[in-house]
Subunit: 237 residues, 2 copies
DNA sequence: ACCTGAACACCGTTCAAGT
DNA sequence: ACCTGAACACCGTTCAAGT
């Protein structure tokens, strides 16, 4: 039974120094986190065009303008949604971390996978705001590379190269991976223009769909270059 | 005398763009190309949020709905604008082409530069539609790599890896390169959270601004990997 | 074939006000 | 501190109609 909170209001005992406990009322409290979560749901369900402040408020059971108490504007909502989708728990057995390269690959594959799970995140991508989860990923990437022996002077280049590659791969994949028949149609169009585009027509560029494999291969090339001498992993005991 | 036009829309807010310059008083032809050109101007001047169908029509001196005869919808306008900005004349002395690697680097640096000249293009990026200029670039890239000796089975991976890298670098650069003080502020914030992000705080990741150098370096690593043995250019005669 | 205004169903955000 | 509705200044696109 949904006992209305309004009734229990009078029952409020003047409990002494109540810790900052939040009351769970049926109209939810409306916090930044809660707004972000609802935005992600909406974006997942309706895509990037489906998120409006009104619809978001609707979903949260609040008035539209209530959102603006917690959030600066719609851009802010996008920033929150993007970052909230990029939490990272770290590579497996991080404590032991016997192979830095394996760790880096795990981090970057997870990054890409997290975004592809929410394809709208790719189209949000050129954003100035770096949320805590994104920063944490950059930090972890940087510290791992650093521990692996990348010199301080090369560290930023290494981080940005890898970041760029991951972002580009994600954006591309999000663009072209959507629909098989779309891609087939595009390749068809390409073939019909065969004279103009012989090479990519022949190679069936738009039909090739080993995206994961291609991602991994390019990543390996980058890593080969960024840490030329294959450092032996930290020797154990 | 452009009586009809100036008369009808005299209620104007004070600061409009380009008051008299392009009022040629000729009836504008209104073609796809013309619309694309106007869209690019508008996007350059006002950014991605500044392009609306109404404003575009205004700039073209036509009614809003006239656009829809030439264009399917607003997405279509974005596609046209993006592609129109990506024309490529080819590498220098293409006919002689003594060094494939030099050519590829030129193509990709030009690609990135073209987009950075119109920063809105980066935020348009995850698009399904490949216009003729984009396809021409892909074709030229593919054929150059192929001539350089990249095996057919590796060609798509090579093309996509390079494309991904370029797109990612462009998107990132467009995001963070905008304002110096923004970046300084962000790095400042990072420093204040120094405990949480020691590595990228120390490396001053957000302040590093040798974007061009970093781009070139990562690109070289990729090219090293994609064409491992430095093939001598096709012997002539 | 090409262009048009009016109308519809939306937007994000400001503001003054309510608790 | 937190939430609200009304109002403003916009949107993209459908439609029926005009040349």
């Amino acid at each position: 039974m949904a006992v209305k909170r309004s009734g229990s209001r009078s029952r409020r005992s003047p409990a002494r120094l109540q810790p900052v406990q939040e009351r769970r009322s049926d109209p939810p409290p409306l916090s930044k986190e809660y707004i972000a979560a609802a935005a992600v749901e909406l974006l997942d369900a309706e895509g990037i065009g489906g998120l409006s402040m009104r619809r978001l408020a609707d979903r949260l059971g609040s008035g539209v303008m209530s959102l603006y108490w917690h959030v600066h504007n719609k851009e802010d909502v996008f920033d929150l949604a993007l970052d909230s989708v990029l939490e990272y728990r770290g590579p497996p057995h991080a404590a032991e971390s016997r192979d830095w390269r394996e760790d880096v690959v795990h981090m970057l594959e997870d990054w890409r996978a997290s975004m592809l799970r929410h394809p709208w995140s790719a189209s949000l991508l050129p954003r100035r705001a770096l949320g805590p989860n994104i920063l944490a990923r950059l930090e972890l990437l940087g510290s791992t590379l650093s521990r692996a022996g990348v010199a301080d002077t090369d560290l930023n280049v290494a981080i940005w190269s890898l970041w760029n590659y991951v972002m580009g791969a994600t954006v591309t994949r999000a663009s072209f991976g959507l629909s098989d028949e779309d891609r087939a149609a595009a390749q068809q169009r390409l073939a019909s223009l065969g004279a103009r585009y012989p090479t990519i027509g022949r190679s069936r560029l738009l039909l090739d769909d080993d995206w994961d494999g291609a991602f991994r291969k390019g990543l390996d090339f980058l890593l080969d270059g960024l840490a030329p001498q294959p450092l032996t992993p930290r020797r154990r005991g």
